[in-house]
C-alpha cells in the first residue's frame, strides 16, 4: 500500500484486539438448538469457512439462535455477536440488515478482503429464513 492510500484507508489495528480473540477462544451462542425451526449451512469458498446456523422462529420473530462450524477470527466473532443481535428481531428486520450493520456491530474496520468472512453468518441466517 502506498503512502497516500495509508492516509485515507488506515489498516485497522483493531481487527485482532484482545476482546476479539477472547470471543474467538470462547465463542458465545456456539452449539445446537433443540427446537430449531430454521437451519442452513453456508460456506465461504475463498477461506473454507463453514458455518451452520439454527434458529427458533415463532410469530415471525427470532426467539433463539445458535451457530456451529469453523473459520477465521472474523467470521467466528461475527457469528457470536450476530446471534445475540438477531434474537428478538423480526424476520423482516433481519432481511434489512446489511454490511454496514455487521461492521457496526463488530465495531472494527473490516478490510474489503475480509468482508465476505464477516458477512458469512448473516448470509447463513438469511438463507435459513428463506427456506
Amino acid at each position: 500500500m502506498n503512502k497516500k492510500q495509508q492516509e485515507h484507508e488506515p489498516i485497522p489495528e483493531d481487527m485482532y484486539k484482545e476482546h476479539m480473540l477472547e470471543l474467538y477462544r470462547s465463542p458465545s451462542n456456539f452449539g445446537v438448538l433443540k427446537n430449531f425451526t430454521h437451519e442452513s449451512t453456508e460456506h465461504n469458498t475463498v477461506c473454507g469457512d463453514e458455518i451452520t446456523v439454527q434458529l427458533e422462529v415463532e410469530d415471525e420473530k427470532i426467539r433463539d439462535a445458535k451457530f456451529s462450524g469453523s473459520g477465521c477470527v472474523v467470521s467466528m466473532v461475527s457469528a457470536s455477536l450476530l446471534m445475540d443481535k438477531v434474537k428478538g428481531k423480526s424476520v423482516s428486520d433481519i432481511f434489512e440488515m446489511n454490511k454496514e450493520d455487521v461492521a457496526k456491530m463488530m465495531n472494527i474496520n473490516v478490510t474489503p478482503a475480509r468482508i465476505k468472512c464477516a458477512l458469512l453468518p448473516l448470509e447463513a441466517i438469511k438463507k435459513a429464513l428463506r427456506k
Partner: protein
C-alpha cells in the same frame, strides 16, 4: 540491471535489483512474498509499454501507414522474442490473455487431434483450477473421462500411480511443470517422454516455471505449453500458448472475426494460417511489447543465475520456517521445488495469518490457492487451506527474516487458543 558474465546473484545483488522495480520505491516498507500470484514489474517493462503507446501506437496489420507498419513489426518482434525464449518457432506462439485463456483455447480446439479409441484425460491432483475446469468442460462435451494422478506424502507426484493411469486410452495428459501450491517441480522431460510413448498429447502448465527456470520446448518435447506474462515480470492481459506446428496447423480456430481471416465472403470465410487464425480481433500489442521486454530483462539476469539464487532463498526460508513452533511446511525440499512454500500455523486460520502478516507489511497468499482438489487431498479444506510465501530474485534473506519474526509474533498473540 544486467549481470556481467561472471557475476552471480546473491543477497546484495537482490537488494540492488529491488531498485529496478518502482513498486518498492512507492512502497518502501513492502515485503512482497506473493510473486507466484503476480510478480512485480521492472521499470523497463513499464516504460516499454508507455513508449509503445507514446511513439508507435497503431492497429497492427490493419492500416497501410508507417505507424501501423511499425506497430505490426513490434508485435511480430515480440512473438519472435517469446519463441526464442522457449526455443520454439515463431508461428508456434499464439498470444492469448493468460494461461487460463490458453487452456480454454486448447480445450476448445484440441478434440480433432485425439485418435480413435482414446477417451481419457489425465490430470494431477496438484493442478491449478485453470488446468482442470477447461478439461472438465471438454470432457462433458465429448463424453471423455478425467483421471487424476495422486501426490505422495513427500509432496511429489506419485510416478507409480501415473504409470498406472497413463494408458493407451489416455488422449491428453495435462500437468503443471511447477505446482503453484507445493512448489514441486515435476520431472517434466521424463514425463513427456512417457506420454509420447503412450501416444497421448502432452500439455504443460508452465505458469509457475517460466520465470524461474530455463524452458526449452524442444528439449522437453511437449506438444503444448501455456504461461502468463504477469507471473514473469510482464504485464497482465497477455499470455502464451505454445503448440507444435503440426498440431496448431490441424486445429480449427475457436474465436472468429477480424484479423484471423484471409478472405471473407457472404457465405464463407477462409481462415488465416497459424498462429493468426487463433488471434481474432485487435490484439494486445502494447502488452506483447511489454512481455518481450520482460523476457529481455530475465535474459539479462540469466535464468540459471535466477534459479541458483532462488533455490538458495528457498532453502533459507525452509530452514527458518521449520524453526517456528506450530509451523507445518508443505514442500518437497529446495532441490525438488521452485520458489514457493506453503505452510500452516497450528490452530490459526490462514486468513488470520495473512491479515496479521499484512499489518507488518508482509504480503503473502492464503486460502485454497485456486487448487481446491489439492487442498482437499491434503485434508485442509475445512481449515481454510494454506498460507503461501512465494519468492522472486528480488527477495532477500531479510525479507524472510521479517516473515519469520512476524509469524512468531502471531503465535504469541494466539497463544491459549490452540
Amino acid at each position: 540491471m544486467e549481470l556481467g558474465v561472471n557475476m552471480k546473484l546473491n543477497n546484495d545483488e537482490a537488494k540492488k535489483l529491488k531498485k529496478d522495480f518502482p513498486i518498492f520505491r512507492s512502497n518502501p516498507e513492502l515485503i512482497y512474498l506473493d510473486s507466484a500470484a503476480t510478480s512485480q514489474k521492472p521499470k523497463k517493462v513499464i516504460d516499454a509499454i508507455s513508449q509503445f503507446y507514446e511513439n508507435e501506437n497503431a492497429n497492427a496489420g490493419r492500416s497501410i501507414h508507417s505507424l501501423a507498419e511499425k506497430s505490426l513489426v513490434r508485435y511480430d518482434e515480440s512473438r519472435a522474442t517469446v519463441a526464442n525464449f522457449i526455443n520454439a518457432e515463431k508461428n508456434e506462439i499464439v498470444f492469448t490473455k493468460n494461461a487460463t485463456d490458453s487452456f480454454n483455447l486448447l480445450a476448445h480446439a484440441i478434440f480433432p487431434l485425439i485418435s480413435e479409441g482414446k477417451d481419457e484425460i489425465l490430470l494431477t491432483e496438484m493442478e491449478h483450477h485453470s488446468n482442470i475446469v477447461p478439461w472438465q468442460e471438454l470432457a462433458k462435451r465429448h463424453g471423455l473421462k478425467i483421471k487424476y494422478v495422486k501426490i505422495r506424502d513427500n509432496y511429489t507426484l506419485d510416478l507409480a500411480d501415473m504409470k498406472k493411469k497413463l494408458t493407451r486410452k489416455t488422449a491428453i495428459f495435462s500437468l503443471t511443470y511447477v505446482s503453484n501450491v507445493l512448489g514441486t517441480a515435476n520431472p517434466i522431460k521424463e514425463i513427456c517422454e512417457m506420454i509420447r510413448r503412450r501416444g497421448a498429447l502432452s500439455v504443460i502448465d508452465a505458469s509457475q516455471a517460466v520465470a524461474h527456470t530455463k524452458i526449452d520446448v524442444k528439449r522437453i518435447d511437449c506438444d503444448f505449453l501455456a504461461f502468463s506474462s504477469h507471473k514473469m515480470y510482464g504485464p497482465t492481459g497477455i499470455g502464451v500458448l505454445y503448440g507444435k506446428k503440426e498440431f496448431l496447423d490441424k486445429m480449427q480456430p475457436v474465436s472468429f472475426g477480424g484479423g484471423m481471416i484471409k478472405k471473407v465472403g457472404l457465405d464463407s470465410t477462409e481462415f488465416a494460417d497459424m498462429p493468426e487464425k487463433f488471434e481474432s480481433g485487435t490484439q494486445n500489442i502494447a502488452d506483447a511489447v511489454g512481455l518481450a521486454e520482460a523476457i529481455k530483462y530475465l535474459e539479462g539476469l540469466g535464468l540459471d543465475n535466477i534459479k541458483k539464487w532462488e533455490t538458495e532463498l528457498l532453502a533459507y526460508a525452509l530452514r527458518s520456517l521449520k524453526e517456528i513452533e506450530g509451523v507445518k511446511v508443505y514442500n518437497p525440499g529446495a532441490e525438488k521445488s521452485s520458489s514457493t512454500i506453503s505452510f500452516t500455523l497450528d490452530g490459526i486460520h490462514p486468513h488470520d495469518v495473512a491479515e496479521l502478516l499484512n499489518k507488518d507489511g508482509i504480503a503473502i497468499r492464503a486460502g485454497h490457492m485456486c487448487a481446491m482438489p489439492l487442498i482437499e487431498s491434503l485434508g485442509l479444506t475445512s481449515k481454510g487451506g494454506l498460507c503461501r510465501a512465494s519468492f522472486s530474485f528480488y527477495n532477500t534473506f531479510e525479507d524472510i527474516d521479517a516473515l519469520t519474526k512476524s509469524l512468531k509474533k502471531i503465535n504469541e498473540k494466539f497463544k491459549g487458543i490452540q
